[in-house]
Symmetry: C2
Subunit: 353 residues, 2 copies
DNA sequence: TTGTATGCGTTATCAG
DNA sequence: CTGATAACGCATACAA
């Protein structure tokens, strides 16, 4: 029996369309009936269970295709202990929209892969869960049937998140945080190596000895790793390195450069935005010093001067993170995944479309 | 009775934490039991039903708070005909990450408001549903329990989407598309007026007569509206206007400017990216012409020359779209919402953080 | 005003 | 290999 919902402006056109397209949403029940099997059998076919004869499998699939049946995700997650949703937890940099590009790549990379793997993902921002206690956060995620969380932009100060990760209630994949456990994987480029590479290239190309290194925030996980890369390079080449914290701020990098840039041979920055700030400062000071950045954002192509930088494929990183999440949800243990990076110079002529 | 899941490395620490925090997720059933009422009563309290005595209401709320109960969204959407999820359908510009900023603002604006309104939203990209027929798309959304769709970046060529909107199967809110119906609302700034305003300001400031107008794509809804603004201005001021389609491409705008810029007094562009392309072309041509853009993206602050542009508050637009969606889901009819815009000049010094 | 019972569309268990 | 049937957590029509 079909139940008709209360329709107000009910006219012939609508009625026709209604009957034509069939208002009834086909469910697993319909498929079962049409194929002459039990609901459970259809479910088994759809979820690739063993112990289903090739014959009925084919018959069911035929009906599924013919009726255009698409299983209801919501019902599945409610019912199943295995399937659940994955949350993308993203720290949005409200200050600088110039790097929204990065988060957007993260999001699209994750969502695309999630669709491929039939994973249900929802996007959440740090601001929505900050100030929550561990309990509150846990309950919040549980109430959303979230089984796994992928975390972008986490810093050492995010204590509750740290607990969440260690707590094993959810499977977690962290980006750029050097932590793994049975339930936590980590995906990242080799930060130290990348920083080492880009700095070395810049320094070699310009025969530098005195280096100004503008680091990120003190509580950033990547900051340490990148500093380590610089330390190695310093020892290897016997450099003289002045280190200052720019906190990933373009403005602070600018000011640091205005203050120390003159007596240095080059400026190595832990982010593109800071590199841009440094470069603009040097232009204002009317002196030239090679500058290099980190990330490979498009903005680098718009500032006039070319700079070396590290290009990270954020979409690929995020895509991989989703794959790792799938593995964790399947019961595998957490691993550390190192993604490749490349050195580039972004030129306006090559960026423009 | 509590069921213990199979735990492998079971040790004392974990056990302690386990018992302490309570592995059992509190459900509406627990609340009901604890408060000494029926499940339905709890549900009624939570959903603000009338006909619940103030007394039991208080008692239930107390328990809810004490147990830290958070209703399960998934179960709710599965159960109720009213509550459902909302999809953000976004056209990602894969070519130019420079404007990811806009989509990011859309996403964060929507998600924040959705959380406020307790709406479950999921993000979807055009690429994931393109090539689908209306039926396929419908089934896809239905299978996700999606009741409403907010569409960003739709063009006239998206025929299936057009059908989807007219089809009334889902509630829809379109951004920048002049279409409303009982089930469709539209949110947008006044495109014509905004284009008129920014062009007029630029033209007046520089006493221009011969204008090069670089429009967007032929199949873009905003393109027509913005052209209309230019036409009005042309008549009002008796301008001589050459119109060319730049298709929102920085490169095309550059080439158009290289070709026609010299004989014009100024270049009015239908987007910031095109304005930047035009400006860079003029610099290469070593001539000065005032240029104005549209959108107010951060990149405008990085190109050296200041330009007038229209700032749209994308987050606010998106936030409003979610509000309108809520109304549609509540049974209200679609309306047209016009959001405010402002004229700005983006200066590097003011953008930098 | 409150409680009972049924359904939402799946998955999972277990008997056949 | 297949089929009943009980969950999953909540909403809601209807009975009390």
């Amino acid at each position: 029996m079909i139940t008709y919902r209360c329709v107000v402006n009910y006219n012939e056109t609508k009625r026709k369309r209604f009957l034509q397209e069939g208002a009834k949403v086909v469910s697993i029940k319909d498929v079962a009936k049409e194929a002459g099997v039990a609901i459970s059998t259809v479910s088994k076919v759809l979820n690739n269970y063993p112990n289903v004869s090739e014959d009925t499998k084919l018959r069911v699939m035929e009906v599924v295709k013919r009726l255009g049946f698409v299983p209801n995700t919501v019902a599945a997650t409610l019912s199943s202990k295995n399937s659940g949703r994955v949350a993308l937890l993203i720290k949005l940099n409200v200050e600088t929209q110039a790097i929204d590009e990065i988060d957007m790549q993260y999001i699209s990379g994750a969502i695309s892969k999630a669709r491929e793997l039939q994973l249900d993902v929802i996007t959440i921002f740090f601001s929505m869960v900050e100030n929550m206690t561990l309990d509150e956060m846990t309950r919040y995620f549980v109430s959303q049937s979230i089984k796994g969380i992928i975390i972008y932009g986490m810093s050492k100060e995010d204590k509750v998140l740290r607990q969440l990760i260690e707590n094993d209630t959810f499977k977690t994949v962290v980006i750029d945080v050097p932590y793994i456990s049975t339930t936590t994987s980590c995906v990242s480029v080799n930060q130290a190596k990348a920083q080492y590479d880009v700095a070395k290239k810049t320094i070699k190309e310009n025969n530098c000895r005195k280096v100004l290194y503008i680091a990120g925030t003190r509580d950033g996980y990547v900051t340490d790793a990148r500093l380590e890369g610089i330390r190695q390079l310093k020892e290897e080449l016997g450099l003289q390195v002045l280190i200052r914290n720019g906190n990933f701020s373009e403005l602070q990098a600018r000011n640091i450069t205005l203050k120390y840039g003159k007596n240095k041979d080059c400026v190595v920055c832990a982010s593109d935005l800071m590199a841009i700030g440094a470069m603009k400062a040097l232009i204002d000071m009317d002196i030239f010093r090679p500058v290099c950045g980190f990330d490979g954002i498009v903005l680098m192509g718009y500032v006039g001067k070319q700079m070396n930088t590290v290009r990270q494929n954020f979409a690929a990183i995020s895509s991989r993170a989703v794959e790792e999440m799938q593995k964790l949800l399947d019961g595998e243990e957490g691993i550390r995944v190192t993604m490749p990076h490349e050195l580039v110079r972004l030129k306006y002529e090559e960026i423009i479309r």
